[in-house]
């Protein structure tokens, strides 16, 4: 099996203009991956499948990964001039202090494709695609036209992560029901308040029942004891 550098060179030679970026895996498995850009993803996938040398005809696994927005607090060294009294005299002194700085790193949704070859019996070659952000630009090209095995798996990623695949023949929710609104595999998913009141004498349960009742004002009835 070729190294990721060789695969990258082969892709760039075959698909002009394709942006391929190596994502190194520091772990013990050393399964490095290649990040593709949206515009050339289909062309690259087609090349990898049809090329006689790679022959990656078997798309084994499609997984979504959620990387939420990060707010990183770092300590930055800042040099500034301050007025200090040294030996009773006012003096301008240069001083270096550490200041906390907040940096915002935007999050994204990612889809990881594990490819193998049934004819050549090698693999895995790992492809990654990333969305621009996790709120309004969550689209990404679908690889179902190249590998049929992505059909249900991309539906599952759409369902649980909310990645919208363009070019998918039948993009519907797979596991959650059709009326469901959220995407439960996202890291910041909060379970809905589906508390059911059970008549017990515990104050805690009664307090929860009252809070639940207050959050659902359109329902009839009162909670006993609240």
């Amino acid at each position: 099996m070729k190294t990721v550098e060789e695969i990258k060179a082969a892709i760039e030679a075959a698909v002009p203009g394709a942006g391929v970026e190596i994502v190194l895996n520091p772990g013990a498995s050393a399964q490095h991956s290649l990040r593709l850009d949206h515009a050339h993803a289909l062309a690259v996938a087609q090349f990898l499948r049809d090329d006689a040398e790679f022959g990656l005809d078997f798309l084994s696994n499609v997984s979504g990964v959620d990387w939420p927005d990060k707010e990183i607090t770092e300590k930055v060294k800042v040099t500034r001039t301050v007025t200090k009294s040294v030996d009773g005299l006012e003096q301008q002194v240069e001083e270096t202090v550490e200041e906390p700085r907040k940096r915002f790193e935007p999050g994204y949704l990612e889809a990881v494709y594990h490819l193998f070859s049934m004819t050549k019996k090698h693999g895995p070659v790992i492809l990654r695609l990333r969305t621009a952000n996790r709120t309004d630009q969550v689209d990404m090209p679908s690889l179902t036209p190249i590998w049929r095995s992505a059909e249900f798996q991309e539906r599952e990623v759409f369902d649980l992560y909310g990645i919208v695949y363009t070019g998918h023949p039948d993009l519907r929710r797979l596991l959650m029901w059709d009326g469901f609104k959220d995407h439960p595999m996202r890291r910041d998913y909060v379970e809905p308040d589906d508390f059911e009141y059970e008549p017990t004498a515990h104050d805690e349960v009664l307090a929860r029942a009252a809070a639940h009742k207050a959050s659902q004002p359109d329902q009839e009835g009162t909670v006993a004891g609240s």
């Binding site: 309004d136 095995s149 519907r172 909060v190």
Partner: protein
Amino acid sequence: MTTFAINPDKQQGWNRPPVIAPEGDGDLLEVAMGPHHPSTHGVFRMDVALDGERVVRLKPVFGYLHRNHEKIAEGASYLASMPYTDRLDYFCSLTNNWAYALAVEKLVGQTVPERAEYIRVILAELTRIQNHASAIGFLIQEMGASGTPLMYAFKEREKILDLFESLTGSRMMCNYMRFGGCRVDVSAAWLDGARKVVAGLPQFIDEFENLLSSNEILMARCQGIGILRSELAINAGITGPMLRGSGVNYDIRKVDHYGIYDRFKFRVPLGDHGDIYDRYMVRVLEMRESVHILEQALKEIPGGPIMDPKAKIRGFRPKPGEAYGRIEAPKGELGFYLISDGSPNPYRYRVRPPSLINLTVLEDMCLGSNVADVVLIFGSVDIVLGEVDR
């Protein structure tokens, strides 16, 4: 509840229910097979559009058994997910354990002692035999032979489950593998018992085949039905006996040589036509090859530790990185994809379920066949809903 600003107009379109038999499409009849249909092995629905007896469209509907296994595993430590993998494909808990242990061992670069590898092979092949036997039993039940053939299949499965119970304490939820070895050692008496069971298996398979393989009804119902071409099988990511029934020589035991499978002599049975009968035949022949592997493994099993002494159990925190590990489970390629961020819980835990992905081609196999054959074609895929919906 968090809301995401995805275009709400489009959302209506994505969540549309599938229109199977739209009006103005002639006299199509829409039938919902399931979720409580005796043939569906659990809670699973097929929305079928029929033109008389002929299937025109078929859309599988999933999710009745969905409990978001992956999300639960992301909130638990690595080891805490091991018993939960038993519940994926509850017929083959030991191969599920092995696939997960293999993925974690890849993630941390853990080695496994030789005796533990042999025990894993023995248990995996016993699991394969009992899974294939009961899969064939269910297939024949769906052909209309209610009860009796299934009990024949369960006769030998019972002996294998007794072996599992005496070793792991549980018949189906075994929770036996650990990262870097196995939980308890096998005793000499257990190995003797296993040898006795394995010695009786060829006779059982002969008896099974004498009753079934040339049975006129089975041949009439299975041959030439539910044909899956090899090109489509490869493109749709079909694995396991279904893929080999279509004539594609791809067995992960032979390709990856995970564990110690390169030490054993066995053949990979292949089908020719890709119909239900070929899938049945591949399963029978795979049982025979598993018996060969078991005979070799039970003869050669060495002494020694069953757990790598360097394996870390407390404070198990893999270094940041990711790994994809896969094995040839009885139903196909079972893979686990793990991303670690250095914490005690996996950052991402993904199961590659063979049962779900093998259903991708269900519609293609059923189109044009009779509605009675849908039940049979579905049965020949061999799925477990615990793994399909996760």
